[in-house]
Amino acid sequence: MIRNDVFQTLKPIIREQLVVCNIGAPSQELHAMDDQPSNFYMLGTMGLASSIGLGLAAAQDKPVVAIDGDGSVLTNLGTLATIGNNPQGNFTLLIIDNGSYGSTGDQPTYAGMKTDLAAVAKACGAENVQTVSAEDTAAAVQAAIASDEMTIIVSKCESGNVKVPVIKTNPIVIRERFMEEVRR
């Protein structure tokens, strides 16, 4: 299963949730599959989906799911220490770990080699960290949303993207409709 297959299984689970989605192919695939006003698409700024997700979880009470990638987490590895030390019960961080930079030509990341992001997250102080297969990801995310404990899920899937259009939605529109969902 590649990222897009994981997204298909996640669709019914996250469509009603506040979702912060990583730059590039992940946002484009999610947008093409099931655009929701409750999705905050990162159109730029690699590496901040997890930070934005944590901040949003701290700022309000609704569940927040941040969908990040292994390459992006490696770009901003300090985020795991911030998350580990500031646990928010309503926060779920899903790291789609396909071992590659999917948006730039599937070059390998160190997470696809020797670096274990789940072990890093644990070492950073996160208490509830799970490594799951692509197939088990949806169930793990569903359980994490339902629980009162902050959960980091590292989903091991295959490298690869599907061809989808870029997101043409105006960024202010994305922000406004997302804020309305947060207020709702």
Binding site: G44, L74, Y101, Q107, Y110
Partner: protein, 168 residues
Amino acid sequence: MATEMDHQIVKDLKAAGIDYITSVPCKQLAGVIEVLDETPEIMHMPSNKEDEGMGLCAVAFMGGMKPAIVMQNTALGVVVNTLATLIQFYQIPLPMLISYRGEVGEPVACQVEMALHTKAILNQLHIPTYHFHKPEDAAELPGILEYAQMASKPVAILCDASFWRASA
């Protein structure tokens, strides 16, 4: 997938004695990175972030190697401090092969935002900047690489979408 131009660029890097390259990928640089991985004369050590990459390059130079970095222009927003306080302060020669996203031919609107600041940042930092827009512009690469060594400075080589498209 790598084009003749990707091979030519790596050939020029090799001919200039560049033997250490770090990279953070970009779609436009995928071919160059692919060729680098097939070039045993150049040690290719990918970095997770461009300022980390510049740290690697600085010490590769001190260890006697000739480094270069391959990165996207958006990362210029990440590396300003590292350029000023490490690369420039210690006078490390550092060719920066930069994909110039956000120019004509760009599909992603967000990339335009940093394209607007790219040359301004480089100007502000007094970094010699070369812009490859047409395939024939790449003929300047050997001279630019030599210039970086002579001047002991970082130099920026911006390669835009028109350049990559016409070189394909």
